[in-house]
Subunit: 405 residues, 2 copies
């Protein structure tokens, strides 16, 4: 088995044989179908299947990956092995090459239908920074924070594919210096650089997913931008949590990186003290050395390190189901803002600018406390792969459009 | 047009011609289909359609009402008028009677697929009681409470049909007298008697649903039991709101009562002071005189009055979309616990027993601070209809099964 695809030309950009992420694409207005990215091309899985080159049980000529995600770990592994065979050796080149489409010739869609969407709050650095800003007299972390991965449900219906413009939301928000809440466009529009995982295989009601059963249920990882209206959030979020400050838009990257592609990126997570309860203890290390970049208008403003996350993905999944809530195919779990200990490692403007008090300077010399209309935010990510390979997570991007109120 | 159906026999139980609620049923293991309840029978809409008696554009021979809910207000009105004609006059009796099925011969399913689920907190009496219990030194209501309908997203995947047993959830919770959180079955399992409305017609992203456009989007109302693990909730819910304390189960009643059936139940809601912002001002009164009953093991423990809700359903919908979040068919919005000013009008045990300090006595003489295994909770509701008719909301019921941890 080759570790280099014939389909790759020069630098694979993180999309070599060790990655093989799945997405949904359309071409020239045709029907949506599943594809795998290899280098700067997309391998048309529906086309491969029609030619008899891969197995397809209604998985690939579809508008979402959900059917394939539900097929389970054995089906995922078999397809991955087959694609590695087809792309890795010259033997199949003539058969496969007609099914490769240049990335520039396709439109990428949201890769899966979201069932429920949960957002965690699992970076200690992020949670502590937020605590210092908003509860300056108290402990940075609340008492529950190191006992369980704090999380909440978000709006599944507003999880949008990368590239979808984000209209600045309107709503009630506190304007500094005014006692009464005002209504209008958010004045503190922010991003949150996150990593999400998506469930493929459902679980039964009443049967928690064990922390070591993560690979049996989870299909893969995406990048997430949890757009946030901080002024709306500060006004609305007590006592039941964020609502309209988050529900206007959440963006996800187009390529779902399989769990199998991230095995080489597993590292020891930060030490957990106090020791978590048994249902949150993993046999293997599940920190993930994903390296994010946040860019505003093309210039980098932060490099959040996912390996610094206090709570790991399997811990999040075990916690979310420990009460018997079942998983459905398409359940999306986002990590919460990824922030490291360094100032340049913070994954949102709230932290980077310390709630607007210390604006960041962009490449063009302009300053930002929060986002302005027209700003484009892009989050990129990579991970180490096997044998020195790089695993690309691709990017999630969106441009802010003016409010319409 | 008759105001009394030939299909009714004696007391219609709240299910006469003025109601005509929709549900999904199966019979003898056959495929699910849509029906309308009339008296103690179900009118098989798929059967009627096959006989050419009602229009059906793929609406009624389905496992959910979603397609019909999406068809819109004109389609809903046309079908309602046609059913009134078919059931109200003897002319059609011979044609229609074969499509009536005794209620006892059918199984009722969850009437719609839930897209997103939002739960509000719109009873002032409930919110103030909770505030008094958990923030005894502060104001009962937080500053935002009378400015906007506080709400949050819940788990759509665990909205279950009435009758589904509820397994006592396990999780981290604080046990009184212990500093460390424990893991185990919830010791404070509770209910919340609520009323929900379900969206039929989607809205476009970025286009808020105006407060007076409620009837253009909302298909109808159901009863909701928002099962709650209070000990889990107290430990987990800061700062991002309830998560596992709610996500294990939410039950909905089988019959969706059309908005049109509740026009006669509209009343002036409680006065709102301060005056709400313009996007929350309705031209018509949208309080609803729905009268709920909460029964534990068949004995009534509370009679919550929905007309006492501070925030109305159209206000909730306008608020939830004011940031541009679109509606999808099947979006469910629950009211939050319905509690009135009287002690016997409180819609949850947390309030009825003042967090367990003052247990209620059941019909069998036993006392309850919170629910015990084997307890059956039933919420019923009625509303005044036109010309002295009663509109039945039916009931939502569930029995507590022992925890499995």
């Amino acid at each position: 088995m080759s570790t280099r695809a014939w389909a790759e030309t020069g630098d694979d950009g993180g999309f070599g044989l060790a990655n093989l992420p799945y997405g949904i694409f359309t071409r020239s207005g045709g029907p949506p179908r599943a594809g795998v990215r290899i280098g700067d091309r997309v391998l048309d899985l529906a086309g491969l299947a029609a030619a008899g080159l891969v197995e397809d049980r209604g998985w690939f000529a579809a508008g979402s990956l959900n059917a394939f995600m539900a097929a389970g770990r054995a089906a995922w592994a078999a397809n991955r092995a087959r694609l590695t065979e087809l792309l890795g050796g010259e033997a199949h080149r003539a058969d496969v090459e007609p099914h490769l489409v240049p990335l520039g010739a396709v439109e990428l869609a949201r890769p899966f239908e979201v069932a429920d969407y949960v957002d965690f709050y699992s970076s200690e650095h992020h949670a502590a920074n937020v605590g210092r800003m908003f509860r300056p007299q108290g402990e940075p972390l609340l008492p529950n924070w190191k006992r369980l991965p704090v999380g909440y449900h978000g709006r599944a219906g507003t999880v949008y594919p990368s590239g979808t413009p984000v209209v600045r939301p309107c709503g009630q928000r506190r304007v500094p210096g005014q006692d009464e809440p005002g209504f209008g466009p958010s004045l503190r529009l922010d991003i949150e650089a996150e990593v999400g995982f998506v469930a493929g295989v459902p679980s039964a009601p009443g049967r928690p997913v064990a922390v070591d059963a993560f690979r049996d249920h989870v299909f893969g990882f995406v990048l997430v931008n949890d757009w946030s209206a901080r002024d709306v959030q500060q006004w609305e979020a007590q006592p039941l949590g964020p609502f309209l400050s988050k529900s206007f838009a959440t963006s996800v990257s187009p390529w779902v990186v399989p769990v199998a592609a991230l095995e080489a990126a597993r590292v020891a997570p930060p030490a957990q003290d106090p020791a978590p309860l048994p249902y949150l203890r993993t046999a293997e290390p599940w920190g993930l050395d994903l390296r994010l970049e946040v860019l505003i208008n093309g210039g980098r403003v932060a490099e959040p390190p996912f390996r610094e996350m206090y709570w790991t993905s399997p811990q999040q999944l075990a916690h979310a189901t420990v009460n018997g809530a079942p998983l459905r195919t398409g359940d999306l779990f986002a990590s919460g803002t990824v922030s490291g200990p360094g100032r340049g490692q913070r994954g949102c403007l709230l932290e980077l600018t310390w709630n607007g008090a210390e604006p960041v300077t962009l490449a063009d010399g302009s300053a930002r406390a929060f986002l302005e209309d027209g700003d484009t935010v892009t989050i990129r990510g990579t991970a180490p792969g096997p044998d020195g390979a790089v695993i690309g997570l691709g990017e999630v991007t969106g441009t802010v459009l003016p409010a319409t109120c």
